[in-house]
């Protein structure tokens, strides 16, 4: 067998593929919340592990970008490390753990606590782009429902939650209406993060590789979390504060610290937490 010294293009994907992705992204930005089908490529990471986000990131990265990758809000979870390692290896871009220093942030399951700016892009990894999928498995059917803006199914689901449990029993991947038109999955972020989607100064892009869909929330777009007048949207609250930095307004992870089930609560956003601790020391 002949050994070929194969050279990968900057950021892995060839330029034609990047162009295809950017065109799809432009369409997504032009129709906020609409799921744009795209020619998702097979990536050297497994489906379900961020292949959509990676393709969006690859299409956007330039040599001067500074990339941050988080999973569960943390920079040092193994999958985040792996994706960051992939891009520094294949694109040689600078990486950072500081939200404020990044030009492009790829995330799974969280939006950073630190407010984002107009010159930043947030790329979400999306496992299931279709918010109606658990209610209607047929794709041909859900596309029709979106075309007709017929979201009765979801309203009935939320109503039944209230009738049965007294609450809307969705705590993450909480459905939103983007720009008053498309029902959209915010990806499996906790509903705690939903308010950060509304009129965000940063462009938010969503990539679902396995399902081959892209969508976007352009800067300053109205994003409403679904609710009823007598059951307004609420986010999670803790009786605890972060045990490391003392924050009372961040999303907290619950950690079991011994075999008697003792818990401690810490910030899920590791950069936010360590920043606060540094400030406290100063």
């Amino acid at each position: 067998m002949t050994t070929t010294h194969f050279a990968y293009n900057f950021a892995f994907l060839d330029e034609d593929t990047k162009r295809m992705l950017r065109r799809a992204l432009l369409k997504a930005v032009a129709i906020p919340g609409y799921q744009v089908p795209f020619g998702s490529r097979e990536m050297p990471l497994p489906y379900g592990w961020g292949t959509g986000g990676i393709q969006v990131t690859a299409a956007l990265l330039g040599p001067d970008d500074v990339l941050k990758v988080i999973d569960q809000g943390a920079d040092d979870t193994t999958n985040a490390v792996n994706i960051r390692r992939f891009f520094s290896r294949i694109a040689g871009v600078a990486t950072t753990e500081h939200t404020a220093d990044a030009t492009l942030i790829q995330t799974r399951h969280r939006i950073p606590e630190t407010s984002l700016r107009e010159d930043q892009i947030l790329v979400f990894q999306v496992p299931e782009p279709e918010p109606l999928r658990t209610l209607e498995p047929r794709e041909a059917e859900t596309r029709t429902l979106h075309a007709l803006a017929d979201y009765g199914l979801m309203h009935v689901k939320l109503y039944e939650d209230i009738a049965q449990y007294g609450h809307i029993a969705t705590s993450y991947d909480y459905p939103v209406l983007v720009d008053g038109r498309f029902l959209t999955s915010p990806s499996p972020i906790p509903k705690f993060d939903n308010p950060k989607l509304d009129r965000s100064p940063a462009l938010m892009l969503f990539g679902a590789g396995r399902e081959k869909r892209l969508y976007a929330i352009p800067p300053y777009t109205q994003v409403q979390s679904l609710a009823f007048e007598d059951h307004p949207f609420e986010i999670q609250h803790w009786e605890h504060q972060c045990e490391l930095c003392g924050s009372g307004e961040s999303y907290l992870d619950e950690v079991v610290v011994d075999d008697r089930g003792t818990r401690m609560f810490v910030c899920s956003d590791t950069d936010f937490c360590s920043g606060r601790r540094l400030e406290a020391q100063a």
């Binding site: 020619g39 489906y47 040092d76 985040a80 003792t262």
Partner: protein, 368 residues
Amino acid sequence: MYVAVKGGEQAIARSLELLAEARRGDQAVPELELAQIREQLRLGVARVMQEGSLYDEDLAALAIRQAAGDMLEAIFLLRAYRTTLPRFGYTLPLDTTVMRVRRRVSGTFKDIPGGQVLGPTYDYTQRLLEFDTTAVASVAPADAPLPPNMPRVLDLLDAEALIERIEAGSDPEPIDLTREPLMFPADRATRLQNLSRGDEGFLLSMAYSTQRGYAESHPFAGEIRMGEVDVRVCPEELGFAIEIGSIVLTECQMINQFHGGNGVPPQFTRGYGLSMGEGERKAMSMALVDRALRCDELAEPNYAPAQNQEFVLSHSDSVEASGFVQHLKLPHYVDFQAELSLLRTLATKHATESEAPAQSAVVEGSAA
């Protein structure tokens, strides 16, 4: 102190070392050569090429070795490589009637023009473990070579107008599923493309289900043939076709009963399967599933899983399925935390309403 998620980078590096060590095994045993895999594990190589959608025996052998024999991982490796390859052009449609046949059987006629040819098959091996076989079999040459052009069995029925006709030119240019997303409803060419990349085990089960009453299609194996087919391209600057090589294919044409409907008279219908290399199980399964998926076109009741194109086509790909099933091992702390707090709220409410003493699922103390 809280350290649970720290050190991901180091952990990955150590894990890669352990993997390399485990893959190599006992270093006193010589490492497998790619030629050994290519020559002696040829059916595994064929499956990896087929589902990896890349016809390259050496690369498939490399992937199998790197994946330590895990076929789905090898398929994934090949796909991840394939995705980076540029497209120079597309081949002309392959003509399997001029296949250099090495195996060809029909379950519908006792004798057929060109004859039944068993070729290399496991069908009649009796499956006894051969504990001491190192001897190389010598093959006795045939009395006469096989005819170069074997007519398809289904064409014999076609002459009598007993089987549905596929009109020349009725088959539209297929889309490339690795470049364009699968959309529903999908036409037959797109469905076949999806099935050909689909997991053999999944297709086998789906096909099996059609034989057990879930979309019974009364199939007969009209013809299965395996052999080499020439691959030709027609470069624009030349304007005529040139041969660029040949590949081994297995083709299966099923014949299925059809009682008529949708304006079509009672006749036999076709199910089609094609696989790279020797892949008879795959080709036969594919042909059965292909036929089941034609239910809407033939106005048959659509009720079984194998007839549901969204169900079959969305779940056939092992790389997609394997990735998504296994992504559950990634951290979901944040979502789980969200569910925990919701469940506590609901449990408290339930306890208050039923006036039963609340289970103390309450967090006690903390360790700083």
